[in-house]
Amino acid sequence: MTIFKFALRRGLFSPVAIILNGVIPAALIVMMRLNDDGDYRQGIFLIAMAVMFGGFFMAKGVQNDRMEGVLLRILCGPVTTRTYLWQNLLGAAVPMVGLTALISAIGHVVLNWETTFTLGIFLTYTFLAMSSVGLSFVWSSLFKSKEASSGAFGAVMTLISALSGFMIPLHLMPDFLFYTGALFPAHWASRAMQIMLDYGEFSQMFWLSMLAMFLFTVAFILFGAKRRLI
């Protein structure tokens, strides 16, 4: 579990991950608390966006290892690619689950969220974070150059954020953009959050959204684990 320990340490102490997973959600919760009208709809979506980016950066170590040649040195030892990948996956997933649990708990205490709502938000954030970690794996296997990776990352993330309903409510989107957005996991997170905000209960659509995010995560991880890393 050495790789897991290093991945965990690297993820937890990465400045970008700390800002995205700690500072921004905390600041947003405080801002939601200070908001007089009690409408924290936008805040929930913004936290989801931070979690999505945070999950991505949490598993970005694989890409850095690959680009800096660390991976080559690691795989020279008695470590298989599979071991390396699943320990990194675990190293990114465990803190993300802990973090989403913490955010939900803070929301429950500070913003007086109902238990069902808290649980729904926790599940949504967790599945979204997992799919982001998976996407990060895909990213690591696709790009070898840092410049190309950064360029494509900006474009894809802007596209996902715009289509997912984090910025524009889903019901205001034209059908074409709505269905295009469904091809990304963030759309389903957005749907699930919308259901929790509107109805506050676990409807069939909520579970379907979870299933969609789970399937996206599986697909991303399978793709990321198949491609040759070195």
Binding site: Y179, A182, L215, K226
Partner: protein
């Protein structure tokens, strides 16, 4: 990079295209959510089969689910099934008895058969190539073994030749000289007594006669030992003199320490280089051959000013050297005795062969 000539790539492209079309259908026609989830599930299953090829039977599960809930995706499934040689996909046609499913199965079957034939043909070609490469490496290893054996034989020949020379001198000239020496010693003692000087003269004459015989026998032995063909520097000089163009041949250093087998390699190298000059650089005006020997190495440099241009035989498109089979073989021969062969494309064309001498271990 992708190998653009594999059936696997065609399969991947077709699957991506299939899922792309299903996605477009989802976006454009706002199909029911079941279709979307089935598509997502199929993508996962396809990736799973890609990751674990032993799960190819799972294409059947996709097929049944699609036939039940989303017949549009059947083409993709059928194609996957046919790629993995799941001919029992045809069962689907019998179960569902639908014209569209039948058409999809037929199309996928044709594509699958085509891919199968292509893959078989490709595999056969690859196997053939592998066996040829294997044979080539076997031959190469055999060649290097033979070269190493040649070096050993050369060394053994030298040792046995020395033994023969010593035997020749010992058996023939040696006896005569020893006998002459004993006669002269006896004569010397007789010379001390003035009364017996006359009796010493026959002994003295006999010693002279024996010495004469010994000298003659040494001369005969040397005559018998002298090689018919030239060896060493003489041989290289002769090759240069026989060459139709004037060759500036120079020797530096003490060449007496260069072993016979090294001369063999240098000779072959010179021959090949001069042949190449005739074949590829007939317009060369100046040809120089230098042999430098130090206590550790012997270096042969064959230089000519008929440098080839890019695209000529033996020159790559970027102007770099592309040695032919002759120089390649020489490289192997030089490597077999611990040396190296380099080709220099500068202002002049140079072939440089450096071979270790003086107790350096030979071989690869």
């Amino acid at each position: 990079m992708w190998d653009l000539t594999t059936p696997k790539l065609v399969y991947i492209i077709s699957m991506v295209l299939g899922f792309g079309l299903l996605s477009v259908r989802w976006i454009w026609f706002s199909v029911e959510i079941t279709g979307f989830f089935l598509m997502l599930f199929m993508i996962c299953m396809t990736l799973l089969r890609w990751r674990f090829p032993q799960l190819k039977w799972s294409a059947m599960v996709d097929g049944v689910l699609c036939a039940l809930f989303y017949p549009w995706a059947l083409l993709v499934v059928m194609f996957a099934g046919m790629y993995y040689r799941l001919y029992y996909m045809a069962v689907l046609v019998l179960i569902f008895q639908n014209i569209y499913i039948a058409a999809a199965a037929l199309l996928a079957g044709l594509c699958g058969a085509f891919l199968g034939l292509w893959e078989k043909e490709r595999e056969r070609g690859l196997n053939q190539r592998d066996s040829e490469v294997e044979r080539y490496y076997e031959l190469e290893s055999l060649q290097s073994d033979l070269l190493a054996a040649t070096v050993k034989i050369e060394q053994m020949t030298v040792v046995s030749e020395r033994a023969r020379i010593s035997r020749e001198i010992h058996d023939n000239a040696g006896h005569e000289i020893v006998a002459a020496y004993i006669s002269l010693q006896t004569a010397r003692e007789i010379f001390d007594d003035p009364e017996c000087i006359k009796s010493a003269l026959p002994l003295y004459d006999a010693a002279l006669e024996r010495l004469d015989k010994g000298v003659n026998k040494i001369r005969e032995a040397v005559h018998n030992l002298a090689p018919v063909t030239m060896l060493g520097v003489g041989s290289l000089r002769e090759i240069c003199e026989r060459f139709p163009k004037p060759v500036d041949f120079k020797v530096f250093g003490d060449t007496s320490k260069v072993p016979v087998h090294v001369w063999g390699v240098l000779e072959a190298c010179l021959q090949e280089s001069l042949t190449n000059v005739t074949r590829h650089a007939s317009f060369a005006k100046s040809i120089k051959v230098n042999i430098d020997t130090t206590p550790n190495i012997a270096r042969l440099c064959v230089e000519n000013d008929g440098v080839l241009t890019s695209g000529s035989p033996g020159v790559g498109p970027d102007g770099s050297a592309r040695p032919g089979s002759g120089l390649r073989n020489l490289r192997h021969r030089a490597a077999a005795i611990g040396g190296s062969l380099a080709i220099d494309f500068g202002e002049k064309f140079r072939v440089i062969c450096v071979v270790p001498i003086g107790g350096i271990k030979c071989g690869y």
